[in-house]
């Protein structure tokens, strides 16, 4: 049975006093390719069951695997993005086990000689600040099919569309000291892989799946506690909860005088508990051996170098550069680089002539706000936004008016200046006209005028507001202020 669920703050810190949590993560990521790892079938998600299959991925007698070159390129790129050494020679191996959604009775993976080893990923730990996770290995493998236990009562249905879809497995060391830390790493990993175009990393679609090894020990202990594998963490929202549940279970066991058994636990998101996986007969022996159907994977220096050049600037680097080049705060740079498309958009706005600081504010507020409501679409072209910012900076539009123009351009398109003119929002900077509005306002508020003249200068914004109102937002606020001061002083 699971122990009590965490009740403390983030990570249930209240219950860990006297214990240190140690977590390592194994992340499976679907590599973004059109076809499967070892055959030409579509790797698309969500097609009708068993429609993307052929003799190879069905494991029919006599069918042989042929590696997908694009998947290997993306895997190598992922490894390079994580600072791994990509090996000139790696070996595909068979992982043997019986399961109905594994048609060959083995999964083609890598074992003794993986594609890449010895990488690392820096991430921002909520507790320790900038921290580094070690990447022990990154290898290539094929996915299994899906077993659907709830589709037909009393039966298990098998969908082999996913069978053979390319995966990379990324294994960290036991480097995380809390569930929030593990989550922070995962989000950083996701960001890097999305940036590099490796995967969409969508946990809900199963294109990123994570298993965790969790143990606890007394602070200062150098030996690791018995590790328990936690599976079935199907959403980013559950990562922390699942790890907290397992950590708390282990602490409760140990504090109750028991010992932690090495086993596999499944996370139940509905009950927010972990429960032991039904034990398989005996311990699983996968009998790994080199796959004789596939020659060793030999990657030339040129191939590896080419993958390196095809990597885009990664988030950490981009963040640093934005701070340096555009004098942005670290926080602003982090917001702007969270998503590669947004970062590219921001830079495009600046390149189109907008002031860097103003562009940052516009992108972080109006652009991201609009994107949030419209499926992450950046609806106003970078050039148009730059023009819009230019209109504000040049005094042609007030900030308020510019926001209306932005909304209009997002909705219906068009050139900001034309849209602003059509909406009648161009600021009036003609002193004569503005003076007319000011006179009108002063005439309408004689009481306030006399109060102001008696020293109540804090009424000035009131007059400015009234003038803006009368001008329907078109008056240039700076000019209004100037004219007001002159008139009230006379």
């Amino acid at each position: 049975m699971a122990g009590p669920a965490g009740t403390g703050g983030p990570g249930g810190a209240g219950e860990t006093s006297g214990w240190e949590t140690v977590i390592g993560l194994e992340t499976h990521v679907q590599v973004r390719t059109l076809s499967k790892m070892f055959c030409g079938c579509s790797a698309a998600f969500g097609d009708p069951p068993n429609t993307n299959v052929c003799p190879v991925c069905l494991g029919l007698p006599g069918a042989l695997p042929v590696p997908n070159g694009q998947a290997l390129k993306l895997a190598a790129r992922a490894a390079l993005a994580l600072g791994c050494t990509v090996h000139a020679r790696s070996v595909f191996a068979r992982k043997n086990y019986f399961y109905p959604d594994l048609p060959k009775g083995y999964q083609i993976s890598q074992f003794e000689q993986p594609l890449a080893t010895a990488g690392s990923l820096s991430y921002l730990s909520p507790e320790r600040g900038l921290a580094t996770a070690t990447i022990g290995r990154l290898h290539v493998e094929e996915d299994a099919g899906r077993s659907l236990h709830d589709r037909f009562p009393g039966y298990t249905a098998i969908d082999l569309n996913r069978c053979g879809v390319p995966l990379i497995e990324i294994v960290t060391g036991p480097d995380f000291r809390s569930p929030p830390e593990a989550r922070a790493y995962l989000l950083t990993l996701k960001q890097v892989l999305e940036y590099a175009g490796i995967s969409d990393c969508d946990m809900e679609k199963g294109s990123l799946r994570v298993d965790a090894n969790v143990s606890v020990r007394r602070p200062g202990d150098t030996v690791l506690g018995t590790k328990v594998e936690v599976k079935n963490i199907n959403s980013f929202a559950f990562v922390e909860k699942a790890l907290v549940a397992e950590r708390d279970r282990q602490i409760a066991v140990l504090e109750g005088g028991g010992t932690v058994e090495q086993q596999t636990m499944l996370y139940d998101s509905k009950a927010n508990t972990v429960r032991p996986q039904r034990s398989k007969e005996g311990s699983q022996d996968y009998r790994y051996f080199p796959d004789p159907d596939l020659p060793p994977l030999v990657l030339t220096d040129e191939f590896i170098a080419e993958q390196q050049t095809l990597l885009p600037e990664l988030p950490a680097k981009k963040r640093e550069r934005l701070v340096e080049k555009y004098a942005l705060s670290v926080t602003d740079a982090a917001v702007l680089t969270a998503d590669r498309a947004v970062a590219d958009y921001y830079e495009a706005v600046v390149h189109a002539g907008a002031d860097a600081k103003m562009a940052a504010n516009w992108v972080m507020t109006e652009v991201l706000g609009d994107a949030k409501d419209h499926g992450a679409a950046l609806r106003v072209a970078a050039g148009a936004l730059a023009n819009l910012i230019g209109l504000v900076r040049g005094g042609t539009l007030s900030h308020q008016a510019a926001k209306r123009v932005f909304a209009e351009v997002a909705e219906r398109g068009g050139e900001p200046r034309n849209v602003a003119e059509a909406l009648g929002l161009i600021q009036v900077a003609d002193t004569g006209v503005v003076a007319g509005w000011v006179s009108e306002v002063l005439a309408a508020h004689p009481t306030e005028v006399s109060r102001y003249k008696n020293g109540e200068t804090k009424l000035q914004p009131f007059f400015v507001g009234q003038v803006m109102k009368v001008s329907r937002g078109k008056a240039d606020p700076k000019l209004v202020q100037k004219v007001l001061e002159e008139k009230l002083a006379s």
């Binding site: 003799p55 029919l60 007698p61 109905p100 048609p103 060959k104 083995y106 009998r287 004789p292 159907d293």
Partner: protein
């Protein structure tokens, strides 16, 4: 032939001969189905093909669209492959007619064609004896002239050994010369489709057609199809090595006499003959019986009754389904090898068996390279230690059965091409001699075989 009427006549004549050969239980395709298909194929075949109208029988471990592919196993009873082997597709593209499926040991595991769900195949000249195996059906059909050539497959000698015992030619090409796509896997690093033929030429012309690159097999070399050599006038300039480990003191004297006679003829043809040593030869059979079963245990995991093939009894759960399907669907020899292979790959045994066997395999391959590096072009050896043995004789003694392949497994372990041709008779039963060539130099090997075939008294007592 280039005339459609000739192809049709060829199809009908082949069907007639295959019906007459029925007593051998060598062809497992029902006669009526076979004739219908042959006629249809003859009508569809393109007259420009180099094998136009030539009937070629195909071992039942090779996928065909025309006929079931059962691997002579209950577990694939009635299985129709939705695709065909590349070798078969190439044959058809060359105008050949697929003349039915031939009996074999279950999943090609065996040396006698006795381990078959279709029953045993008889030796073409003595029904109390075995034709060898596992491609025994293909060898027997070629031996009685039912077809001029047939496809077989080799993992440890399954083409050359029955060729030797039935008195026909058997070629095992270099590993990677012929696509394995559609060859049902047994030991993937050893498996290769081979050809049995009445003559070196019949076998070689079929091999030339099925050879060459194939995008469906990552282990198939990116090479043009084999080009057939001319029949040489002499073997002047050839250096032929005689590995002493293949002529142990206890070798059957008649086999030795047949080989000595062949070696004399090679010298008369102008070849220089030289004794060589391949010191790791004694470890070949044990090495083979670790590597092949290890790969087989994984290759045969897919036969679990979940997707195709028969299911045996209504199982309570998926584990029970696996147990009953695999327990009843596989024969005893296949189960033995799956268990053996599972064992040698298991945690704690892998290093002692599988890894060690891989190291020994490398040494065996190095033996051959050493011999070739010292100027030897080809090796000549007996193909089998004896002529055809009695049916049932070795069924109770798997090791005796395994030793039938003692002279053939080395070429599979080293990936080298080899050919067996008839070199004489022992008490009326054929015996073969073997050339082992250098990787992808099948042409040299074929030249020597052509030359010896012309002069060797293949039907005379040794």
């Amino acid at each position: 032939m280039t005339d459609p009427s000739e192809a049709l006549a060829s199809a009908n004549a082949a069907a007639d001969r295959l019906v007459r050969a029925k007593r051998l239980n060598a062809c497992i395709t029902p006669p009526r189905e076979l004739r219908k298909s042959l006629v249809a194929q003859a009508q569809a075949a393109h007259p420009s093909g180099v094998l136009y109208g030539m009937p070629v029988a195909v071992k039942d471990v090779i996928c065909t669209l025309e006929f079931t592919t059962t691997c002579s196993s209950k577990i694939l009873e009635g299985y129709h492959s939705p695709y065909e082997a590349t070798a078969v597709a190439k044959l058809k593209a060359a105008g050949a007619l697929i003349a039915g499926k031939t009996n074999c040991d279950e999943f090609a595991m065996g040396s006698s064609t006795e381990h078959s769900a279709h029953g045993r195949t008889l030796h073409p000249f003595d029904k109390t004896r075995v034709p060898g195996g596992s491609s025994g059906g293909s060898a027997a059909l070629v031996a009685v002239g039912a077809v001029p050539a047939a496809l077989g497959s080799e993992t440890g000698g399954s083409v050359r050994q029955p060729a030797s015992l039935c008195g026909v030619v058997g070629i095992k090409p270099t590993y990677g010369r012929v696509s394995r796509s559609g060859l049902v896997a047994f030991g993937s690093s050893l498996d290769q489709i081979g050809v049995l033929g009445r003559s070196v030429h019949d076998a070689a012309r079929v091999l030339a057609v099925i050879s060459g690159r194939d995008a469906r097999d990552s282990t198939c070399e990116d090479r043009d199809p084999l080009r057939l050599p001319n029949v040489p006038e002499s073997l002047q300039g050839f250096v032929i090595g005689i590995p002493k480990e293949y002529f142990p003191p206890d070798l059957d004297p008649a086999v030795r006499r047949a080989c000595d006679r062949a070696i004399r003829l090679l010298k008369e043809l102008g070849a220089a003959v030289r004794e060589v040593s391949l010191p790791h030869t004694p470890y070949a059979v044990p090495t083979y019986y670790i590597v092949a079963p290890a790969e087989a245990s994984s290759n045969l995991a897919r036969y679990d009754g979940a997707r195709y093939g028969p299911r045996f009894n209504g199982a309570a759960d998926v584990r029970a389904l696996y147990r009953s399907t695999r327990g009843e669907g596989f024969g005893a020899e296949v189960r033995r090898r799956i268990l053996l292979g599972t064992y040698v790959l298991s945690a704690g045994y892998y290093d002692a068996y599988y890894r060690k066997a891989q190291q020994m395999r490398a040494l065996i391959a190095q033996d051959f390279r050493n011999a070739f590096d010292r100027g030897v072009d080809l090796l000549f050896t007996p193909t089998t230690p004896t002529a055809a043995f009695k049916a049932g004789e070795r069924l109770g003694d798997p090791v005796a059965m395994y030793l039938s392949d003692i002279f053939t497994v080395t070429a599979n372990l080293a990936g080298l091409p080899a050919i067996s041709i008839p070199i004489g008779r022992i008490k009326g039963l054929p015996i073969g001699g073997q050339f082992i060539g250098q990787a992808f130099l099948e042409d040299e090997m074929l030249e020597a075989a052509y030359a010896l075939e012309r002069v060797v008294p293949a039907t005379e007592e040794a």
